[in-house]
Amino acid sequence: MLNIKELLDKVKASPYREIVIRAPHTGKVEFAGLKQGDMVRGPGGEYMEKPGTLLANLTREKNKKPIPAPEKGIIEAVHLEHEGKFVEAGEPLVTIKHYLTRKEVIELILQEALYLFRAPERAKYYFVPEVDQKLKVSGKRSVKVHDGMEILIVSRMKRETPLAYSGPEGIVYSVYFGRGENIDEGEPLIGICPEDQLTVIQDVVARIQSEWEEEE
């Protein structure tokens, strides 16, 4: 039995994720002149083609490599003692405090609370007709699943085989695939939550949706 309230309080108490930027390999570090408290941006642009803010340059074998920020956030610490020195791989260089976005918080809670049933292979997935019917008529939360129940059809190159659910008993809380969409192996198909947790989860998600302030 998972305590969602506790989880939420934990998130609220520190709504940050610390990202430690480590040296990807050995080399000489030159920091890009950022100091504590500076804002950094993650990769941007329509196609994520613009790299994030430059944090440092790492030079190995006369090959200078930029290290950009992976996420938006505020600089927590810069290990300036390494400036101009040779560091080993994995040496922490910069710590970024990344304020969690609404989406990330919900994701985090669901990760903890739901059981994700994942795709066994790359294929298109459909619900079996009776489940499909039920979903359409009375919504996602009406479908109960238990271990060994056949709920999905794996369709690949016109070869259709039923797929049995394996995992804890519960209700379908979220569906992560669309009709006729190819799902890669290991991607989540459906999220299952225990029946008694349903209302709590819904509550929490709704509250986050309305209350979570996103920092600009």
Partner: protein, 756 residues
């Protein structure tokens, strides 16, 4: 009501004048607006108080001022005139110039591409006491007085495809084509079939279209204009422009502007002046045949006299084109030549031509373009050498004819006959003698088999033996004839695909030495110097270079361009961006033309175009295959203006002649190939390939964002996209280029190659 209308008309005229002279304060403009405001005030108070006389007076004043202002027009003002929504558009011309027309290939918005308008139009002519309808196919871009769905006359690839389709229809029906160029440029998207690819196809077909083509230029924006502008007679409207790039684009390049920064109006004005884009400039350079005088400040839809003039000119031009090749013309040809445009209507000619006349027409068209842009390059070849080259050319042509046509054909026949006989004999032997042999072998065993088995054993041994270390390491040559000087540096380098492919860092001496600039873990090709290909693929050191003395110059006297050119010449040691030579690829003699990126980005100007054309002619005379290796090209050299643009049709015609003569024309793209050359003489090849990691496209990402407002994905121009839409036919690994070229030379191309 009439007064209302006339006043509205005057208002329109004033806004038009203001729009054209956008930032100029002029006494006449001030006077006009003052007078008009007075009149409007009076009209508002007492509508009856404005009489006919007042209106006539102010209209006269307008006419006078327009004439006066017309004398002060700068090139940039002309650009603004052409872009103005009140400017005549193709629909107006169809309504007023032709006697009847039917729009085909879509109507208005219900159209695959409303910016390209096609119509079957008719001139009704009285000949004696008969009425005769002369059909023409009218093709042109339609700007539609600012209708948004027309896309400003910027034609998408499928619009140009539609135009091409109806040109072919006109060819089938044996009627002339009148094309109208009203485009700021083609729409730079790479959706199927690709902007560049489609323009190249249009040019290729127009190069030998068997129908008289007359084109009228109003707004000639580079590649988009060429897509319908390759014509027997090119007429230009006096207030139009014809240019390699919009003045704004030139200013952005001149000022080195990035990320949507705007150039200053002064710089734009200057570029417009330097590009020599006006009708007079183009007439002087010989890129158009005639100018039609427009009314002061440019033609607008109510200038009916202008439409009559245009009609006369069109009939005259079509008559000229037709009478030049018709066999039955007698006095009329003389009359056409001598006639002033006023009585063009009085001479009647059938515009249908016999097949032979059509062949002559195409030939004349091809010669016409061949003779253009002579003054825009420098030919440092001495007079003796030129004479030698001409003689050699004749000798080659004769030699090829004798050897490959006259004698070669007989030899081929004999060979074919022997081949057939041999095959017959083989079959007979097999059917008749084999059973006999078998029985003999059964009756008399031994003898044969031992010998066989002995050979077999050795052979088997060779095939099945494991490698013997005592023979030494079997290193097969990773020895390139030429390695990049970059491989001398002791450092590492990161593969750009490291994020997705996790390639380890590469040591530069390895990468640019043995690996030939290819990342061993993901196959990314780092750009390589053109010298690498010259030496390792084309054996340049033992090849025969020709036309080395053709030199790029600055024909328009573009500011600071001489210095830039000199710098490029000094840096590369070349005289132009194109190197042409004759070489042997695995014992097949070929002619090769290389466009080198280090020389001004591999841009094509008059010298490069000429060199390329001469290479095609040489290959044709010698019956050799022709390979165009594009190490990189940034497009047409804008500083040469139309001298550069005209290389598109010129080179395409040369290619067309070569392919029609039965040659094999291969194009290999490398690094970045964009714009004009790709949209003409490279893109029209039936055999196009690319080296891995190269980019091919019509306009670069910056230009696309600038002109269409769409941001394109970072990999938009990758060769793989060109492959998937069928522009190119294969993507080659750099290390296999030579092998693949040889394979292609043996398996592709025309009937008229010396080794076939």
């Amino acid at each position: 009501m009439d007064v209302e209308k006339r006043i509205q008309d005057l208002k329109d005229r004033l806004t038009y004048i203001r729009d054209v002279f956008i930032n100029r304060e002029d006494d006449s403009i001030r006077l006009l607006s003052h007078k008009l405001n007075e009149l409007l005030a009076r009209y508002k108070e007492i509508p009856a108080g404005v009489g006919n006389d007042d209106l006539v007076r102010i209209e006269d004043l307008f006419n006078f001022s327009e004439r006066k202002l017309d004398l002060t027009l700068t090139p940039m003002d002309r650009v603004r005139i052409v872009r103005h929504p009140q400017r005549v558009c193709l629909k107006d011309i169809l309504e007023n110039v032709y006697d009847n027309y039917t729009e085909i290939g879509g109507r208005g918005e219900y159209n695959i591409d409303p910016s390209m308008c096609i119509a079957r139009a008719v001139f009704s002519r009285r000949v004696g006491d008969k009425l005769i309808n002369q059909m023409v196919m009218v093709i042109g871009q339609e700007k539609g007085h600012g209708e948004a769905f027309r896309n400003g006359g910027s034609v998408k690839p499928w619009g140009n495809a539609k135009a091409l389709h109806y040109m072919k229809v006109a060819e089938t029906e044996n009627i002339p084509v009148h094309t109208y160029v009203f485009t700021p440029g083609a729409y730079p998207v790479e959706d199927w079939p690709g902007a560049a690819q489609q323009i190249a196809r249009n040019l290729y077909e127009l190069a030998a279209l068997k129908a008289p083509v007359i084109s009228v230029f109003s707004e000639g924006g580079s590649g988009g204009a060429e897509a319908v502008g390759l014509a027997d007679r090119r007429i230009m409207l006096s207030h139009g422009y014809y240019s390699v790039i919009s003045p704004e684009g030139a200013a952005a390049i001149e000022g080195g502007l990035r990320d949507g920064k705007r150039a200053t109006p002064e710089l734009i004005e200057k570029c417009a002046r330097q590009l020599c884009i006006t009708a007079e400039d183009n007439l002087e350079n010989g890129y158009i045949d005639r100018i039609i005088q427009e009314p002061p400040l440019g033609a607008r839809p109510n200038h009916y006299e202008f439409f009559r003039e245009l009609r006369r000119e069109l009939i005259q031009a079509t008559n000229e084109a037709v009478s030049g090749v018709k066999s039955m013309k007698l006095y009329r040809a003389m009359a056409v030549r001598a006639s002033k445009t006023d009585d063009a209507e009085s001479i009647y000619m059938r515009w249908t031509l016999s097949p032979r006349a059509l062949n002559r027409l195409v030939d004349l068209r091809q010669r016409k373009f061949r003779a253009m842009s002579r003054n825009a390059r420098l030919d440092g070849t001495g007079i003796v050498n030129r004479a030698m080259a001409a003689t050699k050319g004749t000798i080659w042509a004769t030699h090829s004819f004798l050897r490959y046509d006259l004698l070669g054909r007989q030899k081929k026949r004999l060979d074919a006959m022997f081949e057939d006989l041999g095959a017959e004999a083989h079959l007979v032997r097999h059917k008749l003698l084999m059973p006999l042999k078998k029985t003999m072998d059964k009756v008399l065993p031994g003898g044969q088999e031992e010998k066989n088995s002995r050979i077999g054993d050795e052979f088997k041994e060779k095939l099945t033996r494991l490698s013997c270390p005592e023979d030494g390491a079997c290193l097969v040559g990773s020895e390139w004839a030429w390695t990049s000087p970059r491989s001398q540096e002791d450092r590492t380098i990161t593969c750009p695909n490291v994020r997705t492919q996790h390639c380890p860092d590469l040591w530069v001496p390895d990468l640019f030495g043995d690996f030939a600039g290819v990342c061993p873990s993901c196959g990314h090709h780092f750009p390589m110097e053109y010298r690498w290909y010259l030496e390792n693929v084309f054996d340049y050191s033992v090849s025969k270079e020709f036309n080395q003395q053709l030199e790029s110059v600055n024909p328009l006297g573009y500011e600071k361009f001489d210095l830039k050119l000199d710098k490029a010449k000094e840096k590369t040691g070349l005289k132009s961006a194109c190197i042409t030579f004759e070489t042997t690829i695995e014992e097949v003699d070929t002619t090769v033309a290389v466009l080198c990126a280090p020389f001004r980005g591999g841009s094509v100007g008059a010298a490069e175009g000429e060199k390329f054309i001469r290479a095609t002619e040489r290959a044709r005379r010698k019956r050799q295959p022709l390979i165009a290796y594009v190490h990189g090209t940034a497009g047409i050299r804008i500083q040469e203006g139309v001298n550069g643009v005209i290389q598109m049709p010129r080179c395409t015609i040369a290619v067309r002649r070569y392919i029609d003569a039965g040659g094999l024309y291969l194009v290999l793209y490398d690094t970045n190939s964009y714009a004009g050359p790709v949209a003409s003489f490279l893109g029209c090849s039936p055999y196009q390939f690319a080296v891995q990691s190269s980019n091919i496209g019509f306009a670069g990402p910056g230009v696309i964002t600038e002109t269409t407002g769409i941001a394109v994905p970072p990999d938009y121009h990758r060769a793989y996209h060109a492959l998937s839409r069928g522009h190119i036919h294969g993507i080659w690994d750099r290390r296999e280029v030579k092998k693949n070229l040889h394979q292609s030379l043996l398996t592709m191309g025309g009937r008229n190659l010396y080794y076939r």
